[in-house]
Amino acid sequence: MINEDKVRIMTKCACYEKNESDNNLHIAGYFRRDFVRWSILKSLVSATFGYILLLMLYFLANYEEIFNLFNKMQYKPLLIKILVGWGVVLIIYSIAARIVYRKRFEEAREGVNDYYDTLKKLRGYYIAERDSSPRFSHQEGDPLNNDEFIDY
């Protein structure tokens, strides 16, 4: 006979797995510090490429002026400006990325915690079913006896 309460919980879990799990379970698999650092690194790489493209636009728009500077061997101030600009972009992006990805991690962790709570309830149903049914015997290695069944 179908246990309606168990089906409700399984449906809840299945809906979460279908809609959210790809991203959230992946994020929650990291330690917060690792996730934030890795995300900042990726953001800084794309910010650097974006900055290079901005420089390309600048060079295309002012190529005569820049060639003149190079002809006169006065490229040092320009290089310093470019490096300072890059530094500013990296600082802004690392601060913004830190805020955004910390928030994203917290949201993902919250969702995953709710999902694990639901899984815990489901585990309760399975244990109750196992205990009441003669089909199942208490065996060594039974995943329901294992505390690692729900991996936090």
């Binding site: 179908i2 299945a14 910010a47 974006g50 636009l57 295309l60 728009a61 002012n62 955004v100």
Partner: protein, 316 residues
Amino acid sequence: MTNLLIIRDYLKAFFQRYERFLTPVFKFFYAFIVLMIFKRLFGYNDSIYSLIVVIPVSFVCAFLPNGAVYIVASVFAVYDIMSLSLQVSLVLAILFLIIYLLYLRFIPGKSWIVMVSMILTMKLPCLIPLVAAMFIGPVAIVPCVCGVMLYYFSIHARQLEPLINASTDDVSDTQIPYLMDTLFKDKEMLLFIVIIAVTIMFTYLIYRSSIRYSWFSAIVAGTSLMIFMLLAGTMMIEDDEIELATILIGSLLSGVIAFVVQFFKGVLDYGRIEIVQFEDDDYYYYVKAIPKIYVAERDVNVQTITESTKKVGDDE
């Protein structure tokens, strides 16, 4: 008012019920409208905007994530503008890439704001900051500004067309410096960018404040501020192309549309119908979970009060 609330609830129920079919339909029209407007903004190579190409491409976009429209529209615009000039198309490609790398990669799922603000700048620029502040918040400033810049890029690229066609000399060396110079010195564009950024921040702060009728105050204050800044800005830059009547009518119309958008904002905030499959030791389950829908009913309470025909003291 009750009738409007009932209509809103029915709309919400309708969207909830047919979400699976409506989402691709909306995405199809979103992609189709964006490409058709790109034809108006750029339109140097009409063959790629023929319906035989646009309809199948929009159909494919209907089943892809929202970001696909940004990529497809970028490819269309860059390929289209190649007919005008290879250099200009290179600049446009770099601009699209910069927006992607510096913003969309960082905050994904917001590419539609770039497209919508680009489209709205054409006809109703005042609506952008109001709707962006209500739906998204200060995060929307960057994509809105990008959309405005892309719109003005298309205007300046069009101005370059007669120069390229008329000149018998090789003007390829001067195209990019000329385009960039006119674009970044366009006072009208800079004015719109400042107004959009300030209005988004201002409207958002009032919208999120804890005062009573904050949304109403936010729209009224945002519209007023925008009209004031547009009038002051137009006088400052002494631009004859901006018509004051257009500014006033456009701003007031934007305010009214913002009210309508605010009223129907909750319509899209619904739980989806979920179809999931799973199994346990005994059964396979195919479940269709339908969220409960509450539709407000017309609250009619007719109380008829008629004068008693018999007076109490008549019997006596």
